[in-house]
Subunit: 342 residues, 4 copies
């Protein structure tokens, strides 16, 4: 639509598209509103639609993803987690914390330590996917309560994983941002459920998913009306055996080129080895990542899950001291973001 | 336990294991009952347990999967779908039908055609996972009703996919066997939910899952108490671009060696090309598969999903004519199974 | 060219194509001669060439491989190794023997044992690629002498690997068929060198090579004038850790569809586990393989290389007893081929 | 050996190891000499050897690679190409130039342009591996002459690929550094041949090679006596289809941790898309790469090979302007290296 298009003109175009048997979703942008239109016959009706009042131009999108596409929305999207902005025009945001919430002490202590070192957001899992039914699957509701306590103690907003549609409500009430894990990237019922909210969602790439599939999964959430999607590269499965996964660094600039959504890097899962985390985290920032997700544990060798990839407080603080120079070198706004909470 | 162990002796062992803080699951077999025991300290208490009345021996299982393991249960398991037996001692079972239920005519016509050609079970999707939110996602409840009509018309029991825990009840009421698709192999909430039933479950290998992970996902269902799990190899993702997936033929004899559960092959997804389906299906049977899952459509070029990998009625019948000789060559019991329904 | 085209007409077409700045290679077939033509401008001149005497039709080949393509040569090629025919119209050929030639006794004993069990060709390595410079790299020339002795003792022709262009002459003098290993599939100097001979060549697929790349490597040998190329699927590298490689069963029918060349299966490298070899070998035959390459060792646990994937004499004989029924079930000519040597 | 060990003492230890039937290779370091010892019985004789004069300690190496291992040689190795130092203690070295040498003008022009922008070394291929026999395979000897001319014109030393043992002499005479390409990483005859020289060698990781295999291939060269090996990560093959390869960023810090050898990154092949090259190059430097190898072409859309991944002169200069800040941010010595030639 033209920059000067009125709400009535926008409504009229949406209505007309509906009459043609197609789906239309308005995409309000900083300067003007785009209208995403989907359906096999969409191209045939382009001429008719172009003549409606307020229509600026018809853009045929060449990729199967639409709402997440930079073709449809050229300007970078900023998503806010409890006031902390994440996106291309904001400082690099660091989300840090334990893989799993184990105890109140462990979680609060970690939240304070990562906050002191400059992390803006606390991560930690109350519901944990586990390959084996005999391993730790998270504390559940008591874990959510511990995260709330850690938020109060540290002032950091909380991101935590949700595993199934039935839990979306309770997790969204407790957290500032939801996380969809790699194994659930194509759990479409779950994507639909978080799409019904307006809560920010970190969507992790599946371990054998292509970039196109990641963007199509984001599309599920966006198409339900939730615009607050943050993409996260966390490594793919390859034949390499010295590392747990292979962090796909190409994905960072590729996602920034194809999509307007913010892009995070998770070097903890992306490497599976604590001694590679800092180097790969700096690499991700140099490649253009808008934020990082890093596992930190007071005593990694006692962690119930994934201790081998967690940083100690000391190693995390050491890494955080290196980050500003690399971020500045690639033109990021100065200063690490701070939480908006008092 | 010894073959002559009494129910009281079995109960006493289970109780004693519980007192030690471990989990015990009795596994009744053809000749005797095994008791699966899990927990970090399980090995320390082996001596104590070995002295209890009725205990034959303590076997330490070396793989992380237990209930699905041939170490724990050496004899082949036979799972029955509405009376049709599936397992190493039964004829090769063919499940065939459309990828998606589209219309009553298409589904009933296909059910009758595959039944005439020798298929024992009808497959068809009412709930379809779709990579894109803009593509066909299945008819839902009306699709289940069409499947019921096709069962009545053809006499074939029905296997159909369930996507989310909330739908497990309604799908299990309508179908004779549930299917967990590749994308949901690690949807642990869904595995838990189908584990609560006694309905047979076809569990498909995820497209980047290892054999160990597949067996651990089966373990989720078994650990909840549902013993009727059928494993299914359906191809893994590789760099090859002439095929949709790479069917892992090694997985067939490997799963038969590691596990007592029945093993299916899905050459339709495993190749993604209709002209490779028959050759790979015969290969899977020669390698020891207990059954096949094959997509058939009256007019594959008009299918709403996956037409390129579906066989026509004629191609399917041609394939079925080749199957008995290959099955006999590897020692399968003669005669294709027929449905138990009148 | 038409079936009735004269040599002069064929020469005239080849000459005319040369004048157009393109390369032409005549491909004599059972019924008529095709002329492969390569070069960017080939399509522009199609009309001119079609009007020449003896030309039947111009076929535009859609794949990047030409001489190996079934579009160019529709009839199946039969390659003969010392008189043993290999191809779609011949019985399944089994090549068996030790991974490495270690001693005269081991090699002769194995040759006799596999011959008694029905193998038609002896395989064994005198020059071995080794991932580590500190491991066994083969006996070299003395190994070739041992292979000659084993051929004399057993009557079986010999296939053995060549690693570098400088050795092609000496290995071709000693062997009945050369093998290009997976690591050398894209050693283009070596492909050129074996292309200069008329000796049969088994070309193994590289462990991360696509089907298209395998056919393009075959194309190197064919384009130099050696038509006796046998393709071999030997497994690709994936993330699966219970097996050494993933045997790509799809490749068997796909190669038979795309190419007229004979196709072998190597289930020893394709699985890396002796207990999977027989099942995958039968699967490959059921899928249409023209032959098998199987590692056999008198005492696999003492083998210098790859013992874990070698069959004992007893296991090999057991497998060979199962093979005829499966081969017959998919319509292979009856009777295992016997060596042409007296 | 102790830092104060005399040459006679070192010789005595080497001689004694030889008497034990083991291989010993002295590894002179900055502070002291290590002696690599190989053979199955090496551990049994540790006690005897430890008592010899000048011996400081016996280190049992846990990885299968030895000479390339940091366990054997803890200090970073610096390799010099015509005087340009490459290694952890030197500035980041940029090698740039065309994929293939096409014409004198193209090559000289590119050499001057990349030199002006700060590249220290010219890269360019005279012998090119090509997947298809019908594509450009390089100019050969005339290409080497053009590279010599470009070196004279620009003052930049030259690195170029060698494909086969027979060409090693002629290429080494013409170039300052040899390159072993990804397809030849396990061409062991070629590794042996370059191991006989003292010329620096860039060894690229194969596209499905593990890190361990890369280091074992380096071991071939080192074991022949050539210490001047530079490792190069250039992307691995995965299922992702938007990029040509997946650059394995994990490999950079992992190789630096496991080995003392210098590590290069090739983001041109690692991405296959010119618009991703700069971001991934900066990422590699942030992760610790000692140098970069980047394809530059005056008119990428007219390149005979790989134009789509080549930078224009302008894009390359733009990238070079960003490099110093990122290098400085991770503590690299200031200043880009300049060629030692006048």
């Amino acid at each position: 639509m033209r920059a000067a298009a009125t709400p009535d003109e926008i409504d009229a175009v949406v209505r007309r598209i509906g009459e043609l048997g197609l789906t239309a979703i308005p995409l309000p942008g900083a300067e003007r509103t785009a209208i995403g239109t989907f359906g096999v016959a969409a191209r045939e009706h382009a001429d008719q639609l172009e003549s409606l009042p307020g229509v600026a131009e018809i853009v045929h999108v060449s990729r199967p993803f639409k709402l997440s596409s930079r073709e449809v929305q050229p300007a970078d999207t900023t998503v806010r987690i409890a006031g902390v902005p994440i996106g291309a025009r904001s400082p690099v945001v660091v989300m840090a914390g334990p893989c799993s919430v184990e105890t109140r002490e462990q979680t609060v202590e970690t939240a304070r330590a990562v906050g002191r070192a400059g992390a803006a957001i606390l991560r930690g899992g109350a519901y944990k996917p586990s390959t084996s039914p005999y391993h730790f699957r998270g504390l559940g509701v008591p874990g959510l309560e511990i995260l709330a306590a850690a938020r109060d103690a540290s002032g950091l907003p909380v991101v935590t994983e949700v595993l199934t549609p039935a839990d979306v409500g309770i997790v969204a009430d407790a957290a500032d941002c939801l996380q969809i894990g790699a194994r659930n990237m194509q759990n479409f019922s779950l994507l639909d459920a978080v799409g019904e909210l307006r809560c920010p969602v970190v969507l992790k790439r599946g371990m054998a998913a292509t970039i196109e599939e990641l963007l199509l999964s984001a599309e599920y959430i966006l198409a339900k009306g939730n615009p607050n999607v943050i993409l996260c590269e966390r490594g793919i499965r390859t034949f390499e055996r010295y590392t747990r996964n292979t962090f796909d660094i190409n994905a960072i600039p590729l996602l920034k080129r194809l999509s307007h959504l913010p892009v995070l890097a998770d070097p903890s899962h992306g490497t599976g080895k604590w001694y590679l985390v800092a180097a790969v985290a700096l690499a991700a920032v140099a490649a253009g990542a808008d934020g990082l997700m890093i596992e930190v544990h007071p005593t990694p060798d006692h962690a119930l899950k994934d201790g081998f990839q967690s940083l100690t407080f000391e190693n995390f603080a050491g890494f955080m001291a290196l980050l500003p120079a690399v971020a500045a070198a690639v033109g990021r706004p100065a200063g690490l973001p701070v939480a908006a909470r008092p």
